[in-house]
Symmetry: C2
Subunit: 214 residues, 2 copies
């Protein structure tokens, strides 16, 4: 089984590495980081680079597609090689997935039209104008399309996906292997749970978080 994780400049690192850490532990999975060119691809903060080892042309038919989000997604909303590759690869994929604002790339490519999908809570209002049906859930599955909420939700998405690709025992073994027994020190992970002043702080940076521009 081949898993292709699509990288682009200014992606969010955990969006890609969360699912990677889960999916790469599926027996016989081959995970490939792919981009328009091979070599280091820099993240949104600018201090991390993951290596793309294959060009998009090198992986025409992955079984699983994972599209991370991050402010760099804004560069791939109106055409170009990534949406073009996604439309082609999606024709033969078993699963087409995204984390965070990666679903906006999928939606803009026309792949989520009329489908239930989720994204980062700050970007939820952008799904409907792109033809998707926004669903405020952590992981949303509609047919072969699986979308996750913001950043860290990719871990939950990948475990869910692993149980569907293989079975619940393998998914649980991977979860135990990465000791995913989360104990966040605060109950601030969603806008419904976080204190209003914390929500206000994050909302004040909305544009920067979503586009990288102040």
């Amino acid at each position: 089984m081949q898993v292709a994780i699509v990288l682009f400049e200014r992606f969010t690192a955990l969006d890609a590495v969360g699912p990677y850490e889960v999916l790469s532990r599926i027996p016989d999975a081959e995970v490939v980081f792919t981009s328009t060119r091979t070599g280091p691809v820099r993240n949104d903060v600018g201090s991390l680079a993951l290596t793309a080892t294959a060009t998009l042309a090198d992986v025409p038919h992955p079984d699983v597609i994972v599209v991370p989000g991050g402010p760099g997604q804004t560069d791939h909303m109106t055409g170009g090689p990534i949406p073009q590759w996604l439309r082609a690869a999606d024709r033969t994929s078993t699963w087409t997935t995204s984390v965070c604002t990666g679903s906006l790339i999928l939606a803009a490519a026309g792949l989520l039209t009329g489908r239930r999908a989720t994204t980062h809570w700050l970007a939820m209002d952008q799904l409907a104008p792109l033809g998707a049906l926004p669903a405020e859930e952590r992981v949303v599955t509609d047919g072969k399309y699986v979308t996750a909420a913001g950043v860290s939700a990719g871990i939950d998405m990948a475990l869910e996906l692993t149980s569907r690709i293989v079975d619940a025992t393998v998914a649980q073994a991977v979860q135990l292997g990465i000791e995913y027994d989360p104990r966040p020190p605060f109950a601030a992970g969603s806008p419904h749970a976080a204190p209003p002043e914390v929500v206000a702080v994050v909302q004040a940076y909305r544009n920067f978080i979503l586009t990288g521009v102040h």
Copy 2:
């Protein structure tokens, strides 16, 4: 504030990227991936490479040290440039931290002697022989030493650390920014919670998980 994340061949990606995603969002934080040489450093699975942008000599006095784990840690338990750098950098660090079996590197370097510490559940029995006091908690703080349990626990550790470095509001804002409202599809993240047959599957791979050797 400078944060140095130490990379070595066959590290576990999420051990490094979980804390990175949190700590890099602290205002004015500079996070540097450092290793014995600059350039790509490959993970345990072999299909991911993160770029080290600084040599150990380039970052002699980080404020925060983060040591990830992964089977490659076995190469740094009996001396060499990484333990040597850790001992020196620890003299001036404000926080010295680890994720997963990274605590075994710290302990072997003599930095956890007589201190409470944790590690991946499969490696818990290796802490006491190295002089540390094993504590089965997700995040253990003893003075300036903060150790996290396996792989994904680095996210919880970094949020806890953020609240100590800055304050609870910033930690919560980062948590909300990365939408860390975990919803694992199974309750299998600890050996106490996982079904016995799942624990047995993972224990059968114990040596491979800890050393990379079957």
